[in-house]
């Protein structure tokens, strides 16, 4: 901590608090998503595992990176969005708003904590999955790049949702009608090449597809599209969403009247 000057201590403190916030309820925030992913894996691998291959990979192995990425994205989103909506509804958001933290510092602290939560969930699923299934790691740096960038994108999305929503009901609508369909229809459970042409084209408008396909490429060295195209799409989406998030925080939209 001595290495971090008092200038950065503010955002560092908020980051630490956000980490501790989800760690206090680790069964709900980490163990539960790991369990859910493993149940998906168990069911789909029992039903299809021995009969189906995708890109020359056993279906069970094919499924794991998609499940890991989907869980990381959902949890990165949940971390920022739930923290903000809870603080807004309970009123304790003022403890952060009364501080000298700039909009950029708020953004970075919330975002970094959401990336950590996403990665912790992802590592948890990976560690349990490799007990049962042999999973290669062809391009570890690509895996890491998509994991961090994907969590960052959804963390930023969570900040937008947390600022915009004023009730738990609105947040739940965001989660169930935006995040869930986008993640389930992104190729977690299938390759988009198995879809009819129309739905293949539609899939290309879903940013979750690029995150999952790029992440999976890191494990197997094969994917539906080039990982560099995916990286550019995910990076561009993150940049655009970050600008939107920063402008919301800077203007005080729904935070400072």
């Amino acid at each position: 901590m001595n290495l971090i000057g008092s200038r950065f201590r503010g955002s560092w403190t908020l980051f630490k608090k956000e980490i501790l916030r989800f760690w206090r309820v680790v069964f709900q925030t980490v163990a539960a998503p790991v369990m859910t992913a493993l149940l998906y894996l168990l069911i789909f691998s029992q039903v299809l595992g021995s009969r189906v291959q995708v890109h020359g990979v056993d279906y069970t192995a094919f499924l794991i990176p998609g499940l890991i990425m989907m869980s990381m994205l959902q949890n990165a989103f949940a971390n920022t969005s739930s923290s903000l909506i809870q603080s807004k509804v309970m009123g304790n958001i003022i403890f952060v708003l009364l501080t000298p933290l700039s909009y950029l510092e708020l953004f970075l602290a919330f975002l970094a904590a959401s990336i950590i939560r996403g990665l912790v969930v992802g590592i948890g699923i990976y560690l349990v999955a490799i007990i049962f299934i042999d999973l290669p790691m062809v391009h570890p740096w690509i895996i890491l790049a998509f994991a961090v960038l994907g969590c960052a994108l959804l963390g930023a999305f969570g900040i937008v949702a947390g600022i915009w929503a004023e009730k738990f009901d609105q947040m739940s609508a965001f989660q169930n009608f935006v995040i869930m369909p986008l993640s389930f229809l992104s190729g977690v459970f299938y390759s988009i090449h198995s879809l009819p042409p129309f739905w293949q084209a539609v899939s290309h408008f879903n940013p979750f597809f690029y995150m999952i396909d790029g992440f999976r490429y890191g494990f197997f060295g094969v994917g539906d599209i080039s990982p560099f195209v995916s990286l550019a799409v995910v990076g561009g989406s993150f940049f655009g969403l970050s600008l939107l998030t920063l402008s919301m925080l800077k203007s005080g939209y729904r935070l400072r009247g």
Binding site: M1, R9, L97, L98, T99, P100
Partner: protein, 300 residues
Amino acid sequence: MIPAIKIDQVHKYFGALHALKGVDMSIEQGEFFALLGPNGAGKSTLINLLGGLLRPTSGKLAVMGFDVLGQYRQARHALGVVPQELVFDPFFNVREMLRFQAGYFGRGPENDAWVDEIIECLGLTDKAHTNMRKLSGGMKRRALIAQALAHKPPVLVLDEPTAGVDVELRQTMWEFIKRLNREGHTIILTTHYLEEAETLCSRVAMMKQGEIIALDSTKNLLDRFPGKNLRLKLGGLALPQSLHAMLRGQENGEYMLALNEVTQVEFVLAELRKANIAVEDMQLIEADLEDVFVDLVGRA
């Protein structure tokens, strides 16, 4: 000396509602200052503007000389706000919350001694490791005061700090706040308990419908109101009609009459004699801040 708070022609609109109508005010360093007014007068809006929770439609606000918008970092370092609502973070205990709050302001382990001190002075030692959720209302209020003080701000704003707080806690709390004021902290208080403002504050601003209707020392405000109150016990008999214009209140068979000057006592007694009413008990009472407040708010 730079004023602790400087408010210059501040207007605030919420849609069509003109919540603050050109408020001008200056509070000197080291003052114990009261901001009074009925609900909806604009007190909380003004406090939220100082803390950066709201932005003014026009005008300027400064804390210790720092503009709350242009120099928000310095301004917020100088200010501690105790909110009116009992808000808390349900994930953490008292000590954790105080450390986090100090940390947001760039204060690290070197601040722990101060955190320990405020925990002790506010009677929170036994509850330091208790989750905020499990604290009683009074304890939550103390924790909120501690949170506002965690970064050692020179200016402390207390928005209705004693609402719903028992007498014993109120006294402990005021002793600590008075000590802070003696040590040089500027204290700004909004309260519905006018006797608290009268006892503690050297200067008072009264607000109504977004405007300051009086701003003076407590003594001057009391002197400005020459009237006195006359309490009468008439053994259950009705007050003569001729005295009804002076009636301020009636409780438990006692009448409270407002007098513009002491000589009116003679008139009251004459009217009672005329009506054949014997006085059972009588007391002449000095006007207090509540009388001034009721008078000014009623007139404005």
